[in-house]
């Protein structure tokens, strides 16, 4: 892929790597993630950064066996959607033998096996 800047996203991922995960909140209490100029729910431009809690709850997950070429060496791997209250995050779940809904996990940044790119990873909290 060509060099593209993902202003907002890269900064956000870096914050997660440093244990300082955040999301945006609009005056009406809707959560969203960068890059964002307005709340995707109500269109309000007043977005405040809010710290996310240290851990969230796994809402749903799947173990993927057939991957795209960018993740082929990672397979099989588990993708989870995790509820952090204000927002849900999507990432890979590592360090759990029998992953299931409802477990508490913390977000961090690790590497993709296949490409070495940064990857949002959840591990048991």
């Amino acid at each position: 892929m060509s060099e593209q800047t993902d202003e907002g996203y890269d900064e956000w991922l870096e914050a997660i790597a440093e244990g300082e995960a955040y999301a945006f909140e609009c005056p009406n209490g809707h959560g969203s993630l960068p890059p964002r100029r307005r709340c995707p729910e109500c269109g309000d431009p007043e977005l405040e950064r809010r710290d996310l809690p240290d851990s969230g709850t796994v809402d749903t997950l799947t173990t993927i066996h057939v991957a795209t070429p960018d993740f082929v060496d990672d397979a099989p791997y588990t993708v989870a959607i995790v509820d952090f209250g204000l927002v849900r995050l999507t990432g890979q779940l590592r360090g759990v033998e029998d992953p299931e809904e409802g477990i508490r996990v913390a977000a961090g940044v690790e590497e993709r096996e296949t490409t070495g790119d940064d990857l949002l990873v959840f591990r048991p909290a």
Binding site: T62, V66, T68, Y77, I81
Partner: protein, 388 residues
């Protein structure tokens, strides 16, 4: 406001034809539709065409004029891209165009070339229907996204892999005699359960195949059909479209598809009917769980109650509410951009008694088509009725 009739339909076989280009396939489908309509090619005023991955699969964007050229149609031509609902969106806009009186005769269709990419390439191409930053970079695949929905459904409402397997078995059974279908083979619940996993809980037989194919219909106004004494007994009487947040994680529901609920409510209101009036439906079953979510979203079942419909024989060919008598995307195939129009063709032929499975619904007068894009971030629903 004028009504909209289906004057002609055309279809290629769905299957694995890596040597065929989209333009080759659309030439065949559009020829079939125009010939079936029995009108002169020059009567067609505009083309709306659905395609999703042309840039990736064939290095070809701007396919509207290309396909008009190959179909021998002069005039405006526009491509619609809405992931797997691309040609459903094309149908919807064509219906609006005819209704508002601007156009009397439209060609609407779609095509997709996929198998030349191979499994890994097609998996990647399909994945771009998800959010690049927040889903694809986490390793989400298209089956993976539906697997997340399946597990969320099991968690919220219950249900099992075996319930899902019955959806696959049913749709394979419906496609057995369909020569246009990609998979004309009976399967058993055991085979589905024992198939290699793709994204748990979904296995190989929970997923539609990767397909090549094209489809086309000719839509005309009521007035045009009457003036030219066309044989066009089926009308599109209801149209609806709904949207949702792009990423699954941002949705209010992980085990429901509100975009499809909105689309079907709009289509029912537009046609002046409700779910109980529908005799037969083709719904977007790219994965077994997708059919369950679909039949709940169109109001055939309450949320959480559609999971056992196939197992209990309610949506089978001999059931009260037959769903996907064509074999669905699951067995007929899913050349993404061609699917929405193909579903319209199936329902139209079921209503006219020309479908190989028409015997299952001999008195059907009202049909529904549900075509979903991505993980149902966009959906179109159409109501078809035998014109009175």
């Amino acid at each position: 406001m004028t009504g909209v009739r289906i004057a002609g339909t055309g279809h290629t076989h769905f299957g694995k034809f890596p040597e065929r280009t989209a333009r080759d396939m659309f030439a065949e489908a559009s020829d079939g539709a125009i010939e079936d309509a029995g009108i002169a090619r020059g009567e067609i005023q505009e083309l709306f065409y659905g395609n999703f991955m042309g840039e990736v699969a064939e290095d070809q964007g701007h396919q509207g004029p290309l396909m008009a050229e190959i179909a021998g149609v002069h005039g405006a031509a526009t491509r619609f891209e809405s992931a797997c609902a691309s040609s459903g969106a094309a149908v919807r806009e064509a219906v609006r165009n005819v209704r508002n009186g601007e156009v009397d005769v439209m060609l609407v269709g779609g095509a997709e070339r996929m198998t030349n990419l191979g499994t890994a390439g097609a998996t990647k191409a399909l994945s771009i229907a998800a959010d690049e930053l927040f889903e694809i970079r986490a390793g989400m695949s298209f089956p993976g996204a539906y697997a997340l929905m399946a597990n969320a459904y099991f968690e919220e409402y219950g249900g099992s892999r075996e319930d899902l397997a019955h959806v696959a078995v049913k749709n394979h059974a419906n496609a057995l005699e369909n020569d246009y279908a990609q998979l004309q083979r009976e399967i058993t619940v055991e085979e589905v359960l024992e198939a290699p996993p793709v994204a748990e809980p979904l296995g190989l037989y929970d997923a539609c195949p990767i397909s090549d194919g094209a489809s086309a219909i000719v839509l005309v106004s009521d007035e045009y059909a009457e003036e030219h004494s066309l044989d066009a007994p089926v009308a599109i009487t209801g149209s609806g479209q709904g949207g949702d947040r792009m990423a699954l994680a941002d949705r209010e529901y992980l085990a429901r598809t509100p975009a499809a609920e909105d689309a079907s409510n709009e289509a029912y209101a537009d046609a002046g009917i409700d779910a109980d009036d529908v005799d037969v439906a083709e719904v977007h079953d790219c994965f077994t769980i997708a059919e369950v979510l679909a039949i709940e979203s169109i109001g055939f079942y309450e949320p959480g109650e559609g999971i056992t419909a196939a197992r209990e024989g309610e949506t089978t060919a001999d059931g009260d509410r037959p769903v996907n008598l064509s074999g669905g995307l699951k067995a007929k195939g899913h050349p993404v951009g061609a699917t929405g129009v193909s579903q319209v063709i199936e329902v139209a032929s079921l209503l006219t008694g020309d479908h190989l499975n028409s015997d299952a619904v001999p008195d059907a007068e009202t049909g529904l088509v549900h075509n979903a894009g991505g993980t149902v971030a966009s959906t179109t629903v159409h109501v078809l009725e035998v014109a009175k």
